[in-house]
């Protein structure tokens, strides 16, 4: 039963990733949000690679495991670049583009050096462990960066609906994984993640596709209203 559910979630999530790229093309926003599209195109490519490894070797094989975590490292890198592109959108009018790029490169280099330092003592499977640790560390860097960006969106009173909802979705996506991680720790087992991880993987393409389809670049909202508490 769980196998068919996981397969359904997989195909549904892949369809959503494709839908975002198609929506961007239809809405003529492909180049404007190029790095978001690049992330989903990378996700589609990795889906093909993972599908091949899964069909050839099975979900418990070392080959699928390596394919999964290597492509995951590449996707985390692509998501990092997409997040930096959202920074460029938010801070674009302030002419901070050069310093954002510089900080992003320094942060990526620092994360890579830190990750290398962590795995340097392990001579066995150095490249695999490096890719995995770099991916983990970039995930946490992305989590912190997203919350900083959300603070900037509120402080700068960013009103473009697409940008606001992209950032919010990304924050929820990262937070959901952190919450699921805590849940797994509480349960002392990772069986739930076999269903939960693919479901969470569908959230980002679903919310971003909805945003891309529902709103245009001219749509505006007031982010402060999102924080307003009804009295």
């Amino acid at each position: 039963m769980s196998s068919s559910i996981i397969t359904f979630i997989w195909y549904f999530g892949t369809a959503l990733e494709l839908a975002f790229v198609v929506c961007s093309l239809v809405r003529r926003s492909f180049l404007r949000y190029f790095f978001l599209n690049l992330y989903f195109l990378s996700a589609l490519s990795s889906s093909v690679a993972r599908d091949f490894a899964l069909s050839q070797f099975g979900v418990n094989s070392h080959e699928y495991r390596y394919t999964y975590f290597y492509t995951d490292a590449l996707l985390t890198l692509a998501l990092y670049v997409a997040l930096i592109s959202l920074y460029a959108h938010v801070f674009g009018e302030l002419r901070f583009g050069r310093y954002i790029r510089l900080t992003a490169v320094l942060l990526l280099l620092g994360t890579a050096l830190f990750s290398y330092g962590v795995v340097a003592q392990s001579t066995e499977r150095l490249s695999t462990n490096f890719a995995y640790v770099l991916s983990q560390n970039l995930y946490f860097v992305g989590l912190v960066l997203t919350y900083i960006l959300w603070g900037a969106v509120l402080k700068l009173r960013e009103s473009r609906t697409r940008i606001v909802q992209f950032v919010l979705s990304l924050g929820l996506y990262f937070s959901a994984y952190a919450a699921s991680y805590a849940l797994v720790n509480l349960a002392s087992k990772s069986a739930e993640m076999y269903i939960l991880a693919p479901v969470l993987g569908c959230f980002l393409p679903l919310s971003w596709t909805f945003t891309m389809w529902r709103h245009t670049d001219d749509s505006r909202l007031v982010p402060a209203r999102l924080l307003a508490v009804a009295r």
């Binding site: 997989w10 996707l75 462990n129 860097v141």
Partner: protein, 54 residues
Amino acid sequence: MSRKLGALALALGILVCSMGLKTVLSSNNHSNGAVVIANGPEPWPGGSPAPSKP
């Protein structure tokens, strides 16, 4: 020059915050030390990429 130093300080600060958060979360992990991350809806193979030795 000062802005470049500011960018470097900001990058270091974010890195320290991120790794601190990771350490806090990882310290409570009593399974295998692996932090669950995933991109995409594909079936999760579980654990870390390093396979157990035969």
